[in-house]
């Protein structure tokens, strides 16, 4: 394949560009400031073919559904199937969240996206003295298999695809096991289940962390146990969703977001191969979760660059010929950090731009944030409005008609190339540090993210990054135009259920479950294979955590 542009044409273009450049440079209308993307790539006022003199359309872009998948992972993209509208939901006891799931499905959501409360994500029972103040907050409380039964009661788990935002492996190993055990109890074959669990060790040890978490090696092991389990028994389940979204929320830049998810995925693949699994038995199920942030064009370039990098790594580093193992599939959530508590209705516009970029970038599924999320978890009105924004984007704007509509744009292609280079440099650096688990143990990742978030906040404070309603166009004595969500009573409900279950359950079965898990830890067996049976005894999440922590120890992440 030859270049699109010949030298004569480029030369002629260059001469004409000079004429424009002279006028541009002499104009007095321009502010004297530096223009760059949020990750620091310089941005020119105009791009021309001269910015892509060597672009090889076949090699560098390919066609949708063809390597290197820059233009999309499916040949038909949104013509064949539009993105899944997967709105995040979860609060209070499972009885309440079950109602919200049903409401969203009734209103046209096409998948469930379930978030769990802080104690559940950290592996604690609702009634644990250190957890009580956070019970039911930020997500739904799950303590035993009975809660999982209630959460999905009346929802056809064999048909609806469910994303479980079990960010932390210590939570995932139990909660995904409960989801699977509940499906089994309802007579559903695990191989028929579709969905995703988040299950990202960086979430536990670096991004959403606290003192006394599992050490990185142990958290990573639990995460890999779920990947291995699904490769063997739940073929359509995505057992991990590398949570670049949260890395970004914690403060990193677009280039770091992609580099960290891919470095994480490389580590998982290495581990799976060392466990003797065939690459193509699990690689097609590795999925990604990305952030839709403010820099519109950089975000689009980010999604496209991620696809090319992943394809090249899978082809060249891991030598797979299977196209399904080469496709970077991802869910996007609009940036929570970009939302403001001030003038909250402005967030509807913000999130719509974020989602538009995600769709221009070929996302497989999209969640749009509620306008009130700078203040609280979404009210019913805010959740429905967010879903409607997603539906308006899909049904009214006609963006679904053409695949990769910005492909070939001199600017977008140039930005995609430059971002790719930055990302590859970070991945190489992590390789040199000994991989993502090592880079986490030493605190390197923590420092990188903290540095980036501090720089960002300082730029906001200096006014270099405008935030409408916060550092410009502010309103004095603003009265909130919205009702805020109140978390329903949760602790009492969970405490009563736990007391009843602990009285009624068979103590010998619970003891056996504990002994089985402890033995699995000692013998380094796959713990999901054990816990999926153990949860049938109504052992609590906190009881499982105790066994895991007493075997693996705890770790204080080097945050500051």
């Amino acid at each position: 394949m030859t270049n699109l542009f010949n030298k004569t044409a480029l030369d002629e273009l260059g001469e004409n560009k000079k004429t424009w450049q002279d006028k541009f440079d002499k104009s007095k209308k321009m502010e004297n400031k530096s223009y760059q993307t949020l990750s620091g790539i310089p941005v020119k006022p105009l791009y021309t073919p001269a910015d892509l003199p060597d672009m090889d359309v076949l090699q560098d872009l390919g066609f949708p559904g063809q390597a290197p998948f820059v233009r999309g992972v499916h040949p038909t993209m949104y013509r064949g199937r539009t993105w899944t509208m997967r709105q995040l939901a979860g609060y209070g006891p499972p009885e309440e969240t079950n109602k919200r799931y049903k409401l969203l499905l009734d209103e046209g959501a096409t998948g469930i996206n379930g978030i769990f409360d802080y104690p559940t994500l950290r592996g604690y029972d609702s009634t644990d003295p250190v957890a009580q103040a956070d019970c039911g907050r930020g997500g739904v409380a799950i303590d035993t298999l009975e809660d999982m039964r209630i959460l999905f009661d009346g929802i056809p788990v064999e048909k609806v695809s469910s994303s479980l935002v079990t960010c932390q492996p210590i939570c995932n190993i139990t909660v995904q096991s409960m989801y699977f055990a509940n499906a089994k109890n309802r007579g559903v074959d695990l191989n028929h289940l579709t969905g995703t669990s988040q299950n990202d060790f960086l979430m536990e040890t670096c991004m959403a962390t606290a003192p006394g978490v599992l050490p990185p090696f142990a958290s990573f092991k639990l995460s890999c146990d779920a990947i291995e389990f699904c490769a063997k028994y739940a073929a359509r389940w995505n057992p991990i969703s590398f949570a670049g979204y949260n890395y970004r929320e914690t403060g990193c830049r677009a280039d770091q977001e992609i580099a960290f998810v891919i470095a994480n995925a490389i580590a998982c693949i290495d581990e799976m191969l060392s466990r003797g699994l065939d690459l193509d038995s699990f690689a097609p199920r590795l999925s990604f979760f990305l952030n839709g942030h403010n820099d519109f064009f950089e975000e689009i370039a980010k999604y496209r660059a991620a696809r090319r990098i992943w394809c090249n790594i899978m082809q060249n580093r891991f030598k797979t010929k299977n196209p399904r193992s080469q496709t970077f599939r991802f869910h996007v959530q609009t940036a929570g950090v970009a939302l403001t508590a001030q003038q909250p209705l402005n967030n509807i516009a913000r999130a719509a731009y974020h989602a538009l970029a995600a769709v221009m970038g070929g996302a497989q599924s999209v969640h749009i944030d509620g306008y009130d999320e700078g203040l609280c978890i979404p009210t019913e009105l805010s959740a429905i409005t967010a879903l409607r924004s997603n539906q308006i984007l899909q049904l009214e704007t006609r963006v679904t008609q053409t695949i990769d509509p910005l492909g070939g744009s001199y600017f977008i292609e140039s930005l995609t190339n430059q971002l790719e280079e930055k990302i590859l440099n970070i991945i190489a650096e992590i390789d040199q540090l000994g991989g993502i688990v090592k880079a986490t143990e030493t605190g390197w990742i923590h420092n990188q993210v903290a540095d980036a978030s501090y720089e960002y906040q300082q730029a906001v404070d200096r006014g270099e990054i405008p935030v409408v309603g916060v550092n410009c166009h502010t309103m004095e004595d603003e009265v909130l135009p919205i009702e805020l969500f109140k978390v329903p009573e949760t602790l009492d409900i969970q405490a009563q259920k736990l007391a009843r279950i602990k009285k009624e359950r068979n103590k010998d079965e619970v003891q056996k479950a504990i002994a089985d898990i402890a033995r699995g830890c000692e013998k380094n067996e796959n713990l999901m294979e054990i816990i999926i049976d153990a949860v049938q005894s109504f052992i609590t999440e906190g009881e499982i955590t105790d066994v895991l922590k007493s075997n693996y120890g705890v770790w204080d992440p080097p945050l500051f």
Binding site: D134, A208, G374, A450, S453, V470, V487, F560
Partner: protein, 127 residues
Amino acid sequence: MQNKKRVLIARLGMDAHWRGSVVVARAIRDAGFEIIYLGNQTPEAIVEIAIEEDVDIIGLSTLSGNHLILAPKVIELLKTKKIDDKTVMIGGTIPPDDVPILKKAGVAGVFGPGSPLDKIVEFVAKS
């Protein structure tokens, strides 16, 4: 060294977000104060360490919504122990309606979403 104000920064309860607390801690440190960064802690541990480390200011951070339960608890424990030389401030997703409740409980500074770092540093300097 002895004249340097000492500021403890802790995240309340199980809250998982550390970005705000670390960014604020860095800004306070860069302004010349001493930081004792705890990560997540219970109110009991926060008060105990605040006394042990002889800090002047206790900075609490939370985005989980637990602020109305755990921040007043910190104040209560300080009162029980008859400690009155420590200022308590809080930052995070604090809805406007909760600000007067926290202030009434004895939290001297409340910094909601969008608070500029220099305002927080200024508060520390003046306390």
